[in-house]
């Protein structure tokens, strides 16, 4: 059979594979109705990443199952389809019923099932790599990443003496990025970049950390783009002073990345906004 129904407790995952031609016995719609009746689970996700072909006949049988689901206010999402498969859904006018999502995560967010786990850890690496690159090229400072830790999004305290923060805005992912430096590291970087001693953080030189945040976001954008996140540029802001605080935009999951350098440790923070993601996904749906 080109389909397999897997009970995931909160939702039913329907794995499609190979050629979904229709005419199977029992048909996909019949099984869907049966599973609905047996489990009472009203959320179905069709995963089509392994599906090479889908016919109008198969889609019509899917709609039979959808009718049973609609009667109990259930929902369907269709994820991971190759362009030819998605085209078949759209050309049959079924994209309003089988709402297509790029990923399983997108479908789970749509269903409100990904609230606690929708932080895509893959977004961390672009910021980590970008931080290392920017510090190396622009500041002549080698930075070795340490073990990332989670921080409460409500905790506004930063670990450095000066921080640059910049918002991260895209169609599918919102949040913010911050780089937080001790005064020693700030002055070391300033000396490396400007070629003269920097005795302290001042109003005149503090913009340097904002510029670093800006460059890191620009570099991270390249890798984020490869992950499907088209991030927009923004203007950074700077905060400094002992025990200074910042409020990340949104208030979702916050990851702290420590970096070791020859002049001490500094920190980057990446925060994603769950609320923003949910809002955007609902709008897209």
């Amino acid at each position: 059979m080109p389909f397999e129904f897997v009970n995931q407790n909160d939702y039913i995952l329907v794995k499609l594979s190979g050629e979904c031609l229709g005419g199977e016995k029992p048909g996909v719609g019949d099984v869907m109705t049966q599973v609905l009746n047996d489990t009472k689970i009203k959320l179905f996700i069709f995963q089509a990443s392994e599906c090479s072909t889908i016919t109008g006949a198969f889609l019509r049988e899917m709609t039979l199952g959808y009718r049973a689901l609609k009667a109990v206010n259930g929902q369907v999402r269709f994820v991971g389809g190759i362009p030819a498969v998605v085209h078949q859904i759209v050309s049959n006018g079924l994209d309003r019923i089988f709402i297509c999502k790029m990923s399983l995560k997108g479908a789970l967010i749509d269903f409100g099932l990904a609230k606690q786990k929708d932080f895509d850890v893959n977004v961390i690496n672009p910021f980590l790599n970008a931080t290392i690159k920017v510090l190396k090229i622009q500041c002549f400072l080698e930075a070795k990443p340490g073990k990332p830790t989670m921080k409460k999004p409500t905790d506004p305290l930063l670990l450095g003496d000066v921080s640059g923060i910049i918002s991260v805005v895209s169609e599918t992912f919102n949040g913010s990025f911050a780089i937080s430096l001790s005064e020693a590291i700030f002055c070391g970087i300033s000396k490396n970049m400007l070629g003269e001693d920097c005795p302290a953080i001042t109003e005149k030189n503090v913009d340097l950390v904002g510029e670093l945040a800006n460059m890191i976001l620009g570099q991270a954008k390249v890798e984020l783009g490869q992950l499907g996140y088209a991030v927009q540029m923004a203007i950074p802001s700077c905060v400094w002073g002992k025990d200074h605080k910042i409020k990340h935009f949104g208030g979702g999951t916050c990851v702290v990345l420590p970096f070791e350098t020859e002049i001490g440790t500094f920190y980057s923070e990446v925060m994603t906004s769950n609320a923003a993601i949910n809002q955007i996904m609902k709008k897209a749906g």
Partner: protein, 152 residues
């Protein structure tokens, strides 16, 4: 070679536009190191597009037109893109000065938007002294092809 350098082979008037005081200093330091007997640089600075426009207008009025602008993209008050759009609509600045965009913006679609405003080169931040010097000399040699340069 840009228009203004025709009147004085040795002097190149460079306007650095960036909202970061530190970045303007870094760019200036890097370019100072790149001076040769053939080319001596005179620097002007602006913290945003609005200030830059004034510098361009005043310099042109004094018959000391700016030859090359190193232009940041993301700036408050008036962005680099807005400045480009504005000055290229003015007859006096349609072709000159040569503009080198110096930006953290890595999105190729966004960068392509600037192509229509006659951008000589793009340099992606972070950048090295060697990259800044080489793009400047390429532009002074008339190689203004809108090419993108970045450090690896």
């Amino acid at each position: 070679m840009s228009k203004a350098t025709e009147h004085d082979q040795n002097k190149v008037r460079i306007l650095i536009v960036d909202d970061s005081d530190n970045l303007r200093i870094v760019i200036r330091r890097y370019l100072e190191k790149a001076q040769t007997r053939e080319y001596q640089f005179i620097f002007f600075e602006a913290a945003n597009g609005q200030e830059a426009e004034k510098v361009l207008q005043v310099a042109a009025a004094m018959n000391e037109a700016i030859d090359v602008v190193f232009l940041d993209w993301m700036m408050p008050t008036m962005t680099g893109k807005d400045l480009l759009e504005k000055i290229r609509s003015i007859e006096l600045f349609k072709e000159y000065p040569s503009v080198i965009m110096l930006t953290a913006e890595t999105n190729s679609e966004q960068i392509n938007v600037c192509l229509k405003y006659n951008v000589a080169k793009y340099v992606l931040k972070p950048f090295t002294q060697e990259i800044l010097a080489s793009v400047l000399y390429e532009v002074l040699a008339g190689k203004s092809d809108g090419g993108i340069r970045y450090a690896v």
